[in-house]
């Protein structure tokens, strides 16, 4: 199963390398947020109760997570294209486990968004964000990002199989992304939220992912935020993956 996953993953990687523009295209939106939102909300950092540091220091983890959400929700769209093109049939008729088909797609998508997030991180450092330069915290943050990518790519694949059509899938991707961002501490600290949003955010895996990235990559290290985030995001990824695999098994018509 692992070697099948690797071979398929490898195929997707080659395809990505041959269409580099498509992969870079996905960076535009987070970069715009980074620059414009960062400028727009700059003065918020001076409000009483705002954590120490600049607004950019606070906001960059949110942008990183948003990159993951936007990027990985395309995975389902590409699955539908592969179904139409007949590639999926070709994989299904081969004597390989269905798990490896889902896993290779999801891993590819996650690695892709992880690389994108890393590029955003470098861009953020270039415009003066206080990035933590040590190796292990950076690695930890990337692992959280990777797992979150796995989780959302799996969700996107699962929805793709359920809905079977591209347009509503894109709509669902967008519908999911924005509320998940707003119901988290991506843009404002928890103390700034109305109570009901603060309550909802406690059930939002994105919230924990943002805090974990904040506790590792940017500003002050916070090990407990990281480990809690890692646990929540890991569980989220595992559940989504299982759901996607079961949806894939039902693909037999």
């Amino acid at each position: 199963m692992l070697s099948d996953t690797w071979h398929l993953f490898n195929k997707y990687l080659i395809i990505s390398f041959r269409t580099p523009l498509w992969s870079l295209f996905n960076l535009i939106q987070p970069l715009i947020w980074l620059v414009i939102f960062g400028q727009l909300f700059r003065n918020m950092a001076q409000l009483p109760g705002f954590p120490e540091g600049s607004y950019m220091d606070f906001f960059v983890p949110g942008v990183l997570i948003m990159t993951v959400l936007f990027g990985s929700s395309w995975s389902g769209v590409s699955l539908l294209r592969e179904i139409t093109a007949g590639s999926v049939d070709k994989m299904l008729v081969a004597p390989i486990s269905r798990v490896s088909i889902v896993l290779s797609r999801v891993l590819h998508s996650a690695v892709q968004v992880m690389i994108q997030a890393f590029i955003i991180l470098i861009a953020a450092a270039l415009i003066g964000t206080n990035i933590n330069p040590s190796f292990f915290p950076l690695l930890g943050g990337l692992v959280v990002i990777l797992l979150l990518g796995v989780g959302f790519a799996a969700l996107s694949n699962g929805f793709a199989i359920m809905i079977q059509r591209e347009e509503p899938l894109v709509v669902i991707g967008n519908l999911m992304t924005l509320p998940l961002m707003f119901f988290s501490t991506a843009m404002v600290p928890q103390s700034f939220m109305p109570d009901w949003i603060a309550v909802i955010s406690q059930f939002n895996p994105i919230n924990y992912a943002v805090e974990a990235v904040r506790g590792t990559m940017v500003g002050e290290l916070n090990a407990s935020d990281f480990f809690i985030g890692l646990g929540v995001v890991g569980a989220f990824a595992a559940v989504s993956l299982m759901w996607a695999v079961s949806a894939f098994n039902g693909l037999r018509d």
């Binding site: 099948d4 395809i15 093109a85 049939d89 070709k90 994989m91 008729v93 037999r252 018509d253």
Partner: protein, 450 residues
């Protein structure tokens, strides 16, 4: 190799896509499932290749039971689906290598198989180019090659030549026959091209609405229905002409009569001799014949007999009529033709009134394009042979010929009889034979029929 008993597949909407199907395909056979679009061909292939489940019945492929050992079946079969499924951004070699990896071949084995297959399908030079740059025929060949990487015993080909031009189609047929002969590969193919089923397969099953209507060798199916097919239609179809056609059934040389709308197909054993006899009978009873043409019985006639529909016309409805219209603009060739003939520029109503539908129109148009049609048709016809002769002598359109023949009809003897008589002449007969010989010379050798 394949054993299917009472297979039933019901879709969610309640349609029985496959309805009580029984099949037994032996090792080494090329077997064709012939039927119109939506007949259940693809569904059957998807079930047999483990891609689709089924509701009732027993399926055994390559000696393994579908319910218990789908994984074993997957290892023994190769599938070439309608959608190619190869990755256009990868090179031919990468596509083949990936397929080899998915079938768990060793690295050295993959390398060797790629060389072999590329050589076999003459793709060696294109192997390191991205598939994007391949022609349609090359893509199809690469697709078949990827399906063969693990040396399967059984190959499924779902509409292998759909959308290919004639040249690529013939070349692909050549490969399919070669694979069967040289590698003793069992092949199950689906097609809605009569010629394909006739030329390639050892046995044919005619499938319509999920049911198999007839199954035998193509030759046996055609023999069963009678060797030649006469198509008869009337200038003014009414009860009288209908009765006339039906009474032909009583003649000892007529084996079968099938109505297709207003046209009557008469199956006879010696077509050339029957044409003048039938024309004479019509003359005696004062019946106006609009068309009386002779052709060898084709699989389409077999199809017509078992399903009540002609496969070729269905094909036209679904694929070709809009093609012609899109290509030539509204009004089509007919309107122009009639416009040309009237100096006033007024459009004259064609014989038999204006067509009711675009399909009907394009069907009529089809008749005049007999030269073009011969390329697609399974066998040529006597009618076409003399039409070609006629064309060399006169510039008449077929419509005019019909009109002429009717004028003569009224006075003395109808032209069809004359022409039919001439088809008795050795010359015309020779032409026909020549054409048939030619066509078989150009095409790859037929497989040895079982």
């Amino acid at each position: 190799m394949i054993h299917v008993e009472n297979l039933v597949k019901v879709f969610d909407a309640g349609t029985r896509a496959v309805d009580n199907l029984n099949l037994k395909i032996e090792a080494g056979e090329i077997f064709a499932l012939l039927g119109p679009n939506g007949a259940g061909k693809t569904t059957t292939i998807r079930i047999l290749s483990t891609l689709a489940g089924f509701d009732e019945g027993k399926v055994e492929v390559a000696g393994f039971d579908m319910d218990h050992a789908p994984e074993e079946i997957r290892k023994s079969i190769g599938l070439v689906a309608q959608q190619t499924g190869i990755d256009y951004l990868l090179t031919g070699r990468e596509n083949l290598a990936l397929q080899g990896q998915l079938y768990h071949l060793k690295k050295s084995e993959i390398k060797q198989r790629i060389t072999e297959l590329a050589h076999y399908f003459e793709l060696t030079d294109a192997l390191d180019q991205q598939v994007m740059t391949y022609s349609g025929g090359m893509r199809r060949k690469l697709d078949i090659a990827t399906a063969l990487i693990h040396k399967p015993k059984l190959l499924f080909l779902d509409e292998p030549t759909l959308g290919l031009d004639i040249k690529s189609r013939k070349s692909l047929w050549h490969y399919i026959e070669k694979l069967n002969k040289e590698l003793n590969l069992t092949i199950l193919l689906t097609t809605h091209y009569l010629e394909e089923a006739d030329k390639l397969s050892h046995r044919v099953a005619i499938i319509n609405q999920g049911k198999i209507c007839a199954m035998d060798t193509a030759d046996a199916l055609k023999r069963e229905i009678g060797g030649d097919s006469l198509t008869l239609s009337f200038a003014d179809p009414d009860a009288k002409t209908h009765a006339f056609a039906n009474q032909l059934q009583e003649l000892d040389y007529v084996s079968n009569i099938i109505w297709e709308g207003e046209r009557c197909h008469i199956y006879v054993n010696h077509g050339a001799a029957s044409v003048p006899k039938i024309a004479q009978l019509a003359g005696e009873q004062g019946i106006d014949i609009a068309e009386l043409s002779l052709s060898r019985a084709t699989l389409d006639d077999v199809f017509l007999r078992y399903t009540g529909n002609s496969l070729e016309e269905k094909e036209e409805e679904t694929e070709e009529w809009w093609h012609k219209w899109a290509g030539k603009g509204g009004g089509g060739k007919w309107a122009k033709k009639w416009q040309d003939q009237n100096t006033d520029g007024e459009i004259q109503e064609p014989d038999g009134g204006w067509p009711n539908s675009e399909e009907e129109w394009s069907q009529r148009e089809q008749k005049t394009q007999s030269e073009e049609a011969t390329e697609h048709k399974l066998t040529t016809t006597n009618t076409q042979a003399w039409q070609q002769d006629e064309k060399q002598n006169t510039d008449h359109t077929e419509w005019q010929k019909w009109q002429d023949s009717e004028k003569k009809n009224e006075t003395t003897e109808n032209e069809t009889t004359e022409n039919a008589d001439s088809s008795n002449n050795k010359d015309t007969n020779n032409d026909w034979k020549k054409w048939q010989n030619q066509s078989s010379d150009n095409s790859p050798p037929r497989p040895n029929k079982k």
